[in-house]
Amino acid sequence: MAFLRRTATSAETTQEASQTRVASRLLAAALEGVADRQQRLNVLDLGSGTKGTVDFFAELECPTHLVFADCATFISSQPDPDPENPPSFAQQVSELTRYLNIEPGLELDLILLWDYLHYMNLEQVEMLSCALQPHIHTNTRGYGFGTLHNDQGIKAFHYAIASEAEVFMRPAAAARLPYGHSQQALSENFICLRISRGTLLQEGHLELLLEP
């Protein structure tokens, strides 16, 4: 079941009866300082828009700019490459950059990776890293999930922020993610941020905090 410690079964939701609210050990570090922040906060969520995450940032006193990238849709909609004329790495980065649609010059303060790196093969992880690199600054933080062993497929969930130290989780349509990249594989391919802290959870899963 959920690999984070469950704090409440969810009567929290109306439509998604299976949603659970679970405690996080590293989300608070990723969100450090946002409660007292005055200047605009720029956040990228690799998923599609969620009620919990929007509600959380709506409660802040500072202006917020949230980008919901819906990366899963992008990945699943990619056509098979033409074997005689495959797109170059640079062309694919350019296409992903257009899809992400992050305003040029925007410096991201927080990137909510959730488990979306495990929807991607390692080449796509590297492409994402290249697409995000121009938006990384010294205080950018990332938050997501990994796995201790790359032979373990990660159970697939949809995620949202519930509070500074809690995450909403509900099972995704796919029972398991296509990939279960190890911490080392992510470190070698998602180079725009480095994994600064990892907390081992149940079933070999890791909660990750990333920094430049």
């Binding site: 439509q15 969620t50 009620k51 709506a58 006193e61 949230l66 819906d70």
Partner: protein, 126 residues
């Protein structure tokens, strides 16, 4: 109300509340009123109103001077700007959201045009 069988291409402006259940391609501007895209509404347009509620499909940017709500049946691809934004469980959204609670706290600018004799002018919907 724009009914299910109605298709409009162009610009819609006015000063009364509007519900769109049909198809609109263009732009909708209701500066002082509420706009609802009903469950059967399909809109490819930039939308601007005091309050905007989306229960159908929207491709385009949405601006609300007070609040924007994406209902559980809503599907939105575009950028949202409003002091307050709410996504209901089940809503589908890709794009950006700009929220500034400070904008909601500011009193709305009131523009009145006094005609000779003290009569207030009122802009009619076009």
């Amino acid at each position: 109300m724009i009914g299910q069988s109605i298709e409009i291409k162009g610009t819609i402006t006015g000063n009364e509340n509007l519900v769109i259940e049909g198809t609109v391609d263009g732009s909708v501007t209701l500066p002082d009123n509420d706009l609802t895209i009903g469950e059967s509404g399909k809109v490819s347009a930039d939308l601007s109103a005091k309050n905007v509620k989306v229960e159908g499909q929207v491709t385009g940017d949405i601006s609300g001077t007070e609040k924007v709500v994406i209902a559980k049946s809503g599907r939105v691809r575009g950028n949202i700007t409003a002091p307050r934004v709410t996504l209901e469980d089940g809503a589908k959204f890709k794009g950006s959201i700009d929220m500034d609670p400070g904008e909601a706290a500011k009193p709305a600018a009131k523009v009145e045009t006094k005609m000779p004799g003290g009569v207030e002018s009122k802009q009619e919907a076009s």
